[in-house]
Symmetry: D3
Amino acid sequence: MKIMIINPNSDIEMTKAIEKTAENYAKGEFKIICKPTMGGPRFIARYEDHIMSATGMIKLVKENEEKVDGFIIACHSDPNLDLIKEITRKPVVGIAEASMKIASMLGHKFSVISPIEHSIPNKEALVRKYHLQDMLASVRAPKSKDNEWSEEESLTKAAELAVKEDKAEVIVLGCAGMTGLDRIIQKNLSVPVLDGVTCALIILTGLIKYGVSTSKVRRYNPEF
Amino acid sequence: MKIMIINPNSDIEMTKAIEKTAENYAKGEFKIICKPTMGGPRFIARYEDHIMSATGMIKLVKENEEKVDGFIIACHSDPNLDLIKEITRKPVVGIAEASMKIASMLGHKFSVISPIEHSIPNKEALVRKYHLQDMLASVRAPKSKDNEWSEEESLTKAAELAVKEDKAEVIVLGCAGMTGLDRIIQKNLSVPVLDGVTCALIILTGLIKYGVSTSKVRRYNPEF
Amino acid sequence: MKIMIINPNSDIEMTKAIEKTAENYAKGEFKIICKPTMGGPRFIARYEDHIMSATGMIKLVKENEEKVDGFIIACHSDPNLDLIKEITRKPVVGIAEASMKIASMLGHKFSVISPIEHSIPNKEALVRKYHLQDMLASVRAPKSKDNEWSEEESLTKAAELAVKEDKAEVIVLGCAGMTGLDRIIQKNLSVPVLDGVTCALIILTGLIKYGVSTSKVRRYNPEF
Amino acid sequence: MKIMIINPNSDIEMTKAIEKTAENYAKGEFKIICKPTMGGPRFIARYEDHIMSATGMIKLVKENEEKVDGFIIACHSDPNLDLIKEITRKPVVGIAEASMKIASMLGHKFSVISPIEHSIPNKEALVRKYHLQDMLASVRAPKSKDNEWSEEESLTKAAELAVKEDKAEVIVLGCAGMTGLDRIIQKNLSVPVLDGVTCALIILTGLIKYGVSTSKVRRYNPEF
Amino acid sequence: MKIMIINPNSDIEMTKAIEKTAENYAKGEFKIICKPTMGGPRFIARYEDHIMSATGMIKLVKENEEKVDGFIIACHSDPNLDLIKEITRKPVVGIAEASMKIASMLGHKFSVISPIEHSIPNKEALVRKYHLQDMLASVRAPKSKDNEWSEEESLTKAAELAVKEDKAEVIVLGCAGMTGLDRIIQKNLSVPVLDGVTCALIILTGLIKYGVSTSKVRRYNPEF
Amino acid sequence: MKIMIINPNSDIEMTKAIEKTAENYAKGEFKIICKPTMGGPRFIARYEDHIMSATGMIKLVKENEEKVDGFIIACHSDPNLDLIKEITRKPVVGIAEASMKIASMLGHKFSVISPIEHSIPNKEALVRKYHLQDMLASVRAPKSKDNEWSEEESLTKAAELAVKEDKAEVIVLGCAGMTGLDRIIQKNLSVPVLDGVTCALIILTGLIKYGVSTSKVRRYNPEF
């Protein structure tokens, strides 16, 4: 089994971190190709960032469709996910969709920890797109700007508030850039903390093993 | 007042039809610039078509932002509407959003007539995005393939079924390419038939006159 | 074009303020007749107030139907709006429906500023009637009673809290009596502030120009 | 215990039929005063009919508030129900609200049989007002016009279709004028058939015995 | 009329308190048999507690079906309510369903006071099961552990916060063990306070008098 | 990795079929223990069947908790799923929840094929419990009784109708007894057909590999 993980941004560091998480999950049982997106922005937050990534993402999918068994879109905005589901017959999993749907199986309500406040309404819109709005405890972002969002302390604190004040029973890390911090944050909390990349791997490797993929009958049919 | 209408596809004929509808509404009271999108597909139905239009649409907006008072996105999938709302401070109106929200003020439930069956699930997803799913009677497309969708007979028949069987009280024409057929279809039905371009003009000219535009505080803030 | 604005209460001052807002929007391009409702209460807050206004409102509509092109109901409870849509074939717009649906096109979530706390549940019920409950950030009323609700300071403060605490991206002024304060409040905030009378004029003048009106096929059919 | 049943229309025959149903339920255990509404229309279907009833209904409530223990509004559109809940401290029950909420306790989904097709959208709006839209199988009206709606055959047939085609598990008779037909229709069907007047009596006599009434803290507070 | 009230737990004290409430409501007009459940736990909070009660509850129903006219399940988690509705043709009422649906008729929103924080998510899931989630102001539990939940002070305080902060207009006592405290708490608040046992009696005695019961056509059909 | 699959009924044949499906997916990479439930009914359709299974299911979980890494509940009613999630710290997956949530990632809407008509409302209630009601195209059961439900022809025909008439884009096999028929039915249709046992294995093996399980902070906390 060979899986391609597309990081929709062009950040090499983040791509490496994603790959490391994936390899930790894979334990050598399947192959992983992890790529940043040429022409993509350094960080994805705005709708324009989604568009800047699209051409590079399409190129990666079209060039690799025959070589791999499925694709993961490794940005927690699931940019261009409908598009990628449409253009390939191979299964495609977004890290936001996978992590939030798995969260919905592990507890009453979940919170998403967003890297920046700017993304909160966009995340809320995404949660509603996946019909999960009534299982959402909150979307929270670390508040103080002098604390870098990547620092585990600020994320842990935001997650703690989500559990205590918003009554979240599961935490979803809302950025591929937070990958690798799930275990550290979970240690300090009493609830499961989910990394999107790992959750997407759970779904995608399962779909590949099972041999099912996106329905091509209407919504994701590339022809009409 | 000067308005730019962006046809997200590259079809010159359709662009002219849109312009004609707009001029009929404007009656010379404001200026209209109506443009097709360079690099856009001939017809927009798939998610990939949205992406193919994006670069050209951004270019049109950035080049004309200082010259016009607002933008209309004249495709009934509202492609890249969030993006365009984000990148400009000028007001932006999508023909699907405008026509369906006006429909919601004129009757109990509305139906959308889609040009092709392929678009029905995408339209349903769009209706839900605008929180209008409980006011939707149906999305219908003309059934027989030998009848061209642009023919008024096939559209009228689909609209009739929407009124009789689905209990629609208002009809929304679900494609910019249907522009100009509203009055003809309405004559044969007992319900209002809405053209998206005209509805978008109602909202956009009003916003411009009023002097309000997209909120830039979070979701559509281009900076973060 | 001639428009009748019905103030469902009998307050002459408020009627004049509404008329002034309308004339500012009209800039002489169309005629406005603005009338208080004989027999209506001084202020509309309770369900009984809606009923007290009904007979006078019906009278105004029936007497003026042939003389004007459309009606605006200028109270932010939209009292008797279904009734007025039913009894006339001319288009009818309520200032609450118009302002909240326009708000839904300008940002992720909106808040309504209510003149008094008593009206908050009624506003919430109205928002749900229009299927907008999931786009509502909050309904807020100025808290302290010694601050008159009409004072711009107390409204601005309530709007500020709506933006900061409830994450509203758009503010809707929830009373016709607040007309004229939109620009003043907007200056102090970073978000659009919508006046209901102006929003209703945007929709109504557009419908008249377009030549469409309430669907008479079932819900608003005066005969059965 | 003394109960006033207000028939919001002025029809004496229908008022007698309602009274008969109520006496059958009461079996002499409590007193019933059943009144038509002076000035009300002969039949209530349109929003204007609601208004025509309002003044007479208020008069009946205000004149009898001290003499009775509670009120029933005996029209299945629940006309002016919020108003009557607001103006009296005595408990008030509408026959639509009572019958549909009891229906929701007896089966998976219910259908409402409406006397005329015109009322279907209005009933749907009422069902949604009571947050019951997801438990509604359908609103159906007898189809053929030569069959009088009051005839048990046409109602039974509509109810049968609701059970077989719409999968209703409970039938609600959607008009006070159908009172007395519940048992006859139920005999021919395998599901409970609910009469609104009886259902309202269940709730109202219970509230009176219990000693609770409408909350007066905000929404139904007559003062502000 | 003879009614069996099943306390799904085995607590004799609580059973007596429930019986006392029921007798106070009955005033000798109908007979009440109130039984604890053999094999049931002392207190019901967990899903396992529901199962522990089930066998004893089924036994009580099957042994008494011919002797009584209907059943009340007197635990505010409504444990095994679908099951009991399925196995008997006699009407069955759960105290949570009855009290929350009556609450929905008395005010804009209601809050449930839960005995312990542990039950809050379970209550929320129950509220949603009954389609009442949009009428729920909050589920609250008394906070401090040194204050016994049965004490009226701690419950009153929780109810006060529900009214003031969550804008509840009606309070539902969320445990059969709180029975008898409704009047005491109501005295200190300005809103109706509902006891589940009394509310269930209102519905059940009404259904029996009316002669209707659970629909047996599909969902609650014991045979297939 | 060792997984226990609990068939909540006592049918040995069905248990073997489930085991075969599981072994086909496992391909020897992890161990499977597949057990019927002692004391469980032959087939699970009624709420009483859920209860009959409960004691045996609890016993299986408590006896095997230390020996296995996770549990699958292999009946498409997900009987006692909340209970099993509560009583063990090991991850637990229901085949209905897993298959319907995976279906929601593969297409616009899905249909569930139920073995018998009796189960349709119960399935609808289950779908709503998982917040998936707006992604449900339909629940369908094979109609004619002379065609055994286990026959692939009758299931294929029901699935075809779901795709053609209800516009399902994904089919979920709504009974563990249908296991093994997914590929056969899928061959005849143009959409993915999901087997619940396989879908549950995808989720459960992933959770085990990842090292996360049910949140124990509130709803599924066995202590309070």
